[in-house]
């Protein structure tokens, strides 16, 4: 074994664990040159070890945290929503939220998570990701099924158009157990000719149940057009205590 080979093993020999160290150590015991080199290497390592750990300036961490906070706010406003399955009397719901406000409610159709997520992403036109539903979401769902009312400050539809938002907010004013027509909403929000457009808004409602598009019906009182099927719409209305009266009478009232 040559001196240069032994030298190269110095850092490993310090730990004494290398399998080929026996030869090197044997060489080292005999070779004065290597011993001198080792002592110098050890001195170099020691010098480096002794370099002081310089403290960062006191404002470094606050500066970093400010930066992170700004990023976090930016992410909250622009990034993916969280999404979870939430149990309800109607079966499982898919609920998406961001920044403590609900952005999507849909009724589970029995598809797997991946398909549901993909569907909701298409619906919201932004990425979502699976998470644990926070307690306030379950509470909001329970409140809704208990009272038929919902706190719309907990819903975020800020990405919809002004017309869509107005129509959905108006729908939220229909008491549980009652229904209104598309035309009624159109008139109420100052677009009396826009009953058909209101129908489209209800069909695209991203926050089913909580924005109660199920309480909006045809002028004849017919329950057609519900994303999850007319049977579900009838079931929800029944749960809310709505008793369908005669079609002609309903037409007059609506």
């Amino acid at each position: 074994m040559r001196c240069s080979d032994v030298e190269a093993l110095w850092d490993e020999l310090r730990g004494g664990l290398e399998p080929h160290s026996e030869h090197a150590v044997a060489h080292l015991r005999r070779c004065k040159d290597c011993q001198a080199v080792y002592e110098q290497y050890e001195g170099v390592a020691y010098c480096l070890t002794c370099l002081p750990l310089v403290e960062p300036p006191e404002n470094l961490v606050p500066r970093i945290l400010d930066h992170i906070k700004a990023l976090r706010n930016h992410y909250r406003s622009s990034r993916s929503d969280s999404i979870a399955r939430v149990a309800s009397p109607l079966g499982e719901l898919w609920i998406a939220w961001r920044d403590s406000r609900i952005t999507f409610v849909g009724i589970d159709r029995g598809q797997d998570d991946e398909a549901a997520v993909a569907q909701i992403e298409r619906r919201l036109s932004r990425p979502v990701r699976m998470a644990q539903a926070p307690a306030w979401i379950s509470e909001a769902v329970d409140d809704f099924f208990a009272t038929g009312r919902v706190d719309i400050t907990r819903i975020d539809i800020s990405e919809l158009s002004a017309f869509e938002q107005a129509a959905l907010r108006k729908a939220a004013q229909i008491p549980a157990g009652e229904v209104r027509s598309y035309g009624w909403i159109a008139r109420e929000i100052g677009h009396p000719q826009a009953a058909r457009a209101v129908g489209q808004v209800m069909a695209r409602n991203p926050v089913a149940l909580l924005f109660p598009c199920h309480r909006v019906v045809d002028a004849s009182g017919a329950l057609h057009n519900y994303g999850y099927g007319v049977e579900i719409k009838a079931k929800i209305l029944q749960m809310e205590g709505y008793v369908k009266v005669g079609a002609s009478k309903a037409a007059g009232r609506l």
Binding site: E7, A8, W10, D11, E12, L13, R14, G15, G16, V25, L28, R29, Q35, V37, Y38, E39, Q40, Y41, E42, G43, V44, A45, Y46, C47, L48, T49, C50, L51, P52, L53, V54, E55, P56, P57, L60, V61, R63, I64, L65, H67, I68, L71, R72, Y75, R79, R129
Partner: protein, 215 residues
């Protein structure tokens, strides 16, 4: 003299102490403040030794944490659970450092001339300013700091991680994404050059006890 694990292991042993964060928690952006708190000192010290400049070190650490935050936000739970936080943070800090030094490199003639480490070995023996003159110029610690900065980047990385940060060969291999053999070779070459720069009396350099704010 048969080598043994002596005083030189003092500091690495201390920095190896396991932290509660590393062992128990899956890193996440939600608890990022704790990660900053836990690692800022270490990464700042590392960046400072790599650059020799406080302002650079501060900006490097800030950039590194922002990069880490962004990257962590894109990982799913499984990726985060598998993440080895400390080596990962070193790697990010190192990448930021390299980028920064690369953009500054044209002004740093000393580093440029050291692409070939053997050239340095000759220079320090025969140059106008030998080790003795350097010693007379400042404290011993300043000399050591300066010597480290004279190393070419890849050798400085290896030596800093090994002896100042106290990382093992496998850890350094992970941080630098290099084979362990390469790491060992770089560490050895770095020590050889530092020995030449610091002079044959390096083993007897008496180090000042108080911290020196030399950089």
């Amino acid at each position: 003299m048969v080598p043994k694990t002596g005083t030189a292991e003092r500091k690495p042993a201390a920095t190896n102490a396991p932290s509660p964060l590393r062992s128990a928690e899956v890193p996440s952006v939600d608890r990022f403040e704790r990660i900053v708190d836990e690692f800022q000192r270490r990464l700042y010290g590392f960046a400072l030794r790599m650059t020799g400049n406080r302002e650079d070190a501060e900006e490097i650490v800030q950039d590194a944490f922002v990069r880490a935050f962004r990257a962590l936000g894109k990982m799913n739970a499984e990726q985060r659970a598998d993440l080895r936080l400390q080596p990962w943070l070193y790697t990010i800090t190192l990448n930021v450092t390299r980028n920064r030094l690369r953009s500054k490199r044209p002004t740093n003639v000393a580093l440029d001339s050291l692409a070939d480490p053997d050239a340095l070995l000759n220079n320090t023996q025969e140059g106008p300013e030998g080790p003795e003159q350097i010693v007379e110029r400042g404290t011993d610690l300043e000399l050591v700091e300066g010597a480290l900065l004279q190393l070419p980047m890849h050798l400085r990385e290896a030596a800093t991680l090994r002896f100042i940060e106290g990382r093992s060969h496998p850890e350094i291999a992970e941080i630098l994404n290099q084979p362990i053999g390469t790491v060992k070779s770089h560490v050895h070459r770095a020590v050889r050059i530092l020995r030449r720069i610091l002079g044959p009396q390096v083993g007897r350099i008496v180090l000042a006890e108080e911290p020196v704010n030399a950089v």
